[in-house]
Amino acid sequence: MSFLDLDEWLFELARHVELVYSPLADIKAYPEHVDVALVEGAVANADNLHLIRQVRERTRTLIAFGDCAVTGNVTALRNPLGAPGPILQTLYVERADMSGQIPDAPGIVPALLGRVLPVHAVVPVDLYLPGCPPPAPRIRAALEQILAGGEVLLAGREMIKFG
């Protein structure tokens, strides 16, 4: 949503880039030879893990986009509780009203990882864009610098504040 706050600059952006993959676009597989990927969210389950490895392999500049991708953020709140196995057992089986079972549908419900991890704990990240969400001016500043080529420099409250 914050991305959409870029408003009319999106038109400017569209002149320079081609959108090749997005959760909103109907593209099933992550393509090869991607220049820039804005990765939202932490790595929480087996699907995330598979995808992020694929993204890393096929992308030149990987941006951890938002606090969840950079720190794990709210999505990592489960980590202090330990690995999810016992929790799922409690929730789906022990506390179930009747004949509970842990959802097990390979290919449909991905298995949870032991811990929710920030993206850089799994694959190398080229740029960090913190914020929950990263405000539009911050996204624009980062993308403008990337489009301009050369080293990207983000500093100061407006650019790197968490939360």
Binding site: T71, G72, L77, L81, V125, L129, L154, G156, I160, F162
Partner: protein
């Protein structure tokens, strides 16, 4: 009181005898990051954010407790210091569960401010994700240990300014926690006067006003120094 002339970052500055490097630097408009330091209470030199290089000194020295010496040459912003300060801040973020997005102090947090000042855009260390308690047994205040950085500002302000010593530290190392009285719930503390000075002193969202939600804990820790100064003049 004799004056002391010395150098900070190639700038010639003057300070008073007995003054700390931190005080002299601030008077001369030179920023040195601090976290455990709080005007009005004793300095403990614990957070190590204010470490500076002094030419001829083998070790880095905390500016908050090191007195100025005539002719000393101080550097407060070298590559090495910037690197170490960033590691310190990262270690703090990795040590407990600091989630700015849902924190009462978001936008008004000294830890967050330091992270920005130091240029921390991510934490390079693995997060520890410890289990920490939240104590909301007190009628007006709460403490969330997930956000505590163990600066002991609450401990010192309670002891030295309010004169009560409700707060202290229990346990050691990574297991250390600030506690009220003999580690009973804050609400059951018999010594706490509910003065709220710990609330003023806390640099993060650890100690908060009950009912406050995200970003609502804005406070002015300089009031502590004001209280101390006012009292000193009166008595």
């Amino acid at each position: 009181m004799a004056a002391r002339t010395f150098t900070i970052n190639d700038q010639l500055v003057s300070g008073r005898e007995g003054e700390t490097i931190l005080e002299a630097a601030r008077e001369n408009g030179i920023y040195i990051p601090t976290l455990c330091h709080l005007d009005g209470v004793t300095s403990v030199g614990a957070c190590r954010m204010c470490l500076v290089e002094i030419e001829g000194s083998r070790t880095l020295r905390p500016a908050c407790v090191t007195q100025v010496v005539e002719g000393m040459v101080v550097h407060t912003d070298t590559e090495r210091l910037r690197n170490y300060r960033r590691i310190i801040i990262e270690l703090l973020f990795a040590e407990r569960n600091h989630i700015c997005a849902v924190c009462v102090a978001n936008g008004h947090c000294e830890l967050q401010n330091l992270a920005i000042a130091i240029g921390m855009d991510h934490v390079r260390f693995d997060y520890a994700f410890p289990v920490c308690e939240v104590d909301i047994s007190h009628g007006r205040f709460g403490i969330d240990h997930n956000r505590c950085v163990l600066c002991t500002r609450c401990v010192r302000v309670c002891d030295e300014v309010e004169g009560v010593h409700t707060w202290d530290i229990a346990g050691r190392g990574a297991d250390a926690r600030v506690i009220t009285d003999m580690r009973q719930p804050w609400g059951e503390s018999t010594s706490c006067t509910s003065c709220g000075k710990c609330l003023l002193a806390c640099p993060t969202g650890a100690i908060f006003r009950r009912g406050a939600t995200v970003s609502e804990m804005e406070r002015d820790p300089t009031k502590i120094a004001f209280i101390v100064a006012a009292r000193d003049q009166r008595w």
